[in-house]
């Protein structure tokens, strides 16, 4: 008797679990077909030598061995790191400053909020082509074509006129700046949302205690914002390390190796030199790196939250 009830109990429970599973089934099905399968195929291909068509030759880890000593690949990692660094420091500092400014009761704050998110809604193709046009260093009848160089000439700084996108000293920085221009709105909007969840009473209390602006910032705003900041940092790293459409539309096929980033290398290995296996190996390494970084940051933030 008791057993029967128990059996019925487990039966309804597993039926229940099955019904519950049906909720995630569409998502899991799509995900398995369009993500998991290509994902494993990627690992599989990374162990092969393959021209794209024709036979695949299994070569074990040789692609990875070659990748380990591929100077250009690691330089490209460095470039993406540089873009990420600028995004993390200048871009996010700007985003945070703007978010703090717009969190106060100031005039026009809705307008500012509206405007700062416009660059992020434009596509990378649009932004890249547009800035390529603005930073154009060409001359026509002795006059600068590009808006920026022309502006420099107009305000009496002609000595600053420069081939922005074709000088190895400035090209990567220009890319990073345009990337930051396109990206800071994301950080701004997320940080602002975070700031607005902070209880106003905490600020009032701090004011009553006689805390100044800086102390309030250090003791209330920053600790409360830490999880949001970590989120922005993770999103920035993931976005910046994978940037490439912007680069393609800004500097064409690139300036020697000065504007190479991992994804352009992957694309180059795939369509430029037809080493599909090698391209997949590069994708695998980049993927592992990004996963490691973001999971480390996430667990770091969790630990702080618990403490």
């Amino acid at each position: 008797m008791l057993l029967k009830t128990y059996n019925r109990y487990t039966a309804t429970r597993s039926l229940d679990a099955f019904k519950n599973f049906l909720f995630v089934f569409p998502a899991v099905a799509i995900f398995c077909i369009f993500y998991i399968y290509p994902f494993f195929e990627l690992f599989n291909l990374s162990l092969h030598q393959w021209q794209g068509i024709g036979p695949k030759v299994f070569i074990g880890l040789r692609n990875f061995q070659e990748l380990a000593v591929d100077k250009v690949w690691w330089t490209s990692m460095g470039h993406a790191g540089y873009i990420t660094l600028i995004a993390l420091t200048f871009q996010n500092a700007l985003a945070f400053a703007l978010a703090l400014a717009c969190d106060r009761e100031i005039r026009l704050k809705h307008f500012y909020r509206l405007v700062f998110f416009i660059p992020p809604v434009l596509s990378e193709v649009v932004v890249g082509i547009l800035w390529n046009w603005i930073l154009n260093s060409g001359m026509h009848n002795g006059q600068q074509i590009g808006l920026f160089n022309n502006f420099l000439a107009q305000i009496g700084l002609p000595h600053l006129i420069h081939n922005w996108l074709s000088d190895p000293k400035t090209a990567l920085t220009c890319i990073a700046v345009v990337h930051a221009w396109k990206g800071f709105g994301w950080g701004f909007i997320i940080l602002l949302a975070g700031l607005q969840t902070i209880d106003r009473q905490l600020y009032e209390a701090a004011k009553v205690d006689g805390a100044g602006m800086w102390r309030t910032f250090w003791n209330i705003t920053l600790p409360m914002m830490l999880p949001v900041i970590v989120l922005v940092v993770i999103l920035t790293i993931l976005g910046s390390m994978q940037v490439f459409v912007l680069i393609l539309s800004l500097v064409n096929q690139g300036l020697v190796y000065h504007t190479e980033v991992p994804v352009t290398r992957i694309l180059g290995a795939m369509s430029g030199t037809n080493q599909f296996g090698y391209a997949c190996a590069q994708a695998v390494i980049l993927g592992i790196l990004l996963v490691t970084v973001s999971f480390t940051l996430k667990s770091f933030s969790n630990r702080i939250k618990q403490a």
Partner: protein, 281 residues
């Protein structure tokens, strides 16, 4: 006297703040203004005339972009893809997020972490296996195939956003509903979805941006010109045999305007959605 001093200090602080904010505003808007301005120039004047407004407004460029660039078709396609993908994502991801947050089933955590991990792995290298797979499924060069792929792209983040939101939502109401005999699917449809409107707004706008601005998968999966979305048309434009800056800028403007308009229309929802804790968590 003292009050006056504070007032003056406050005034200066405020002015400085506004100067800072206005500088950023101009740097955001001016490039876009320049794009529109350049799209109204002619080939004869674009390299010569550096004035702020063109002396003669050359709308002809838009007609050229529209007809030669086949933008009418691309525009319609982009619209179909954006609406379909966003609808699909909203339904599928809210079902999944609801289950991840509220329901029990074996392997729940593992599946959830699988989705999260997917957000962090770059796609470029997996294009080729994806394409081979799509062909095996006979989905190459179909709207349906592209829509499914794009749903997959947006799924992970949407699930994460919605799950975080559901986690924060009090479950009292749902418990009451359950006691009243509501089924899970009814709770999802009648309670979870309406309550999650702010988070759904974020999901909608985020994915609209993503689909509208996507072109790599479109290039790979859609070979029929009648199926291609706007970004692709822009690439044809930019990759064309000749440089025609005014028409190129007209193409850029036409690609940018709809999404900016949608954003302006939806922006209240974004802020509200974000601040009600969709991302922050």
């Amino acid at each position: 006297m003292i009050a006056n001093k504070y007032l003056i200090q406050g005034f200066f602080k405020n002015t400085l703040l506004h100067i800072f904010l206005l500088t950023v505003t101009i740097s955001c808007l001016f490039p876009i203004f320049w794009m529109v301005r350049s799209s109204l120039m002619s080939n004869a004047t674009i390299f010569v005339d550096q004035s702020l407004l063109p002396h003669e407004w050359n709308w002809h460029n838009y007609a050229v972009a529209w007809t030669k660039g086949n933008f009418g078709v691309y525009f319609f396609n982009s619209l179909i893809y954006t609406v379909s993908v966003v609808m699909g994502i909203v339904i599928i991801s809210s079902l999944a997020a609801f289950a991840f947050s509220r329901l029990k089933f074996p392997g729940k955590d593992a599946l959830f972490y699988m989705f999260i991990a997917a957000m962090m792995i770059p796609l470029p290298g997996s294009f080729v296996p994806l394409f081979v797979l799509m062909n095996k499924l006979h989905l190459v060069n179909t709207r349906f195939g592209y829509i499914l792929c794009m749903i997959n792209v947006g799924l992970s983040l949407s699930i994460l956003l919605l799950k975080t939101f559901f986690d924060k939502m009090p479950s009292d109401l749902e418990d009451a509903a359950r006691i009243d005999g509501c089924s899970r699917i009814q709770i999802w449809w009648h309670m979870a979805l309406p309550l999650a409107a702010p988070a759904l707004a974020v999901v909608v706008i985020y994915n609209s941006l993503n689909v509208w601005n996507e072109y790599i998968l479109a290039t790979l999966l859609l070979s029929d010109n009648n199926l291609m979305p706007l970004q692709r048309g822009l690439m044809v434009f930019n990759g064309a045999y000749q440089v025609d800056y005014p028409v190129l800028m007209a193409g850029l403007t036409m690609t940018a305007i709809p999404i900016v308009a949608v954003y302006l229309f939806m922006q209240k929802h974004i802020i509200k959605g974000l601040s009600s804790g969709a991302i922050v968590g």
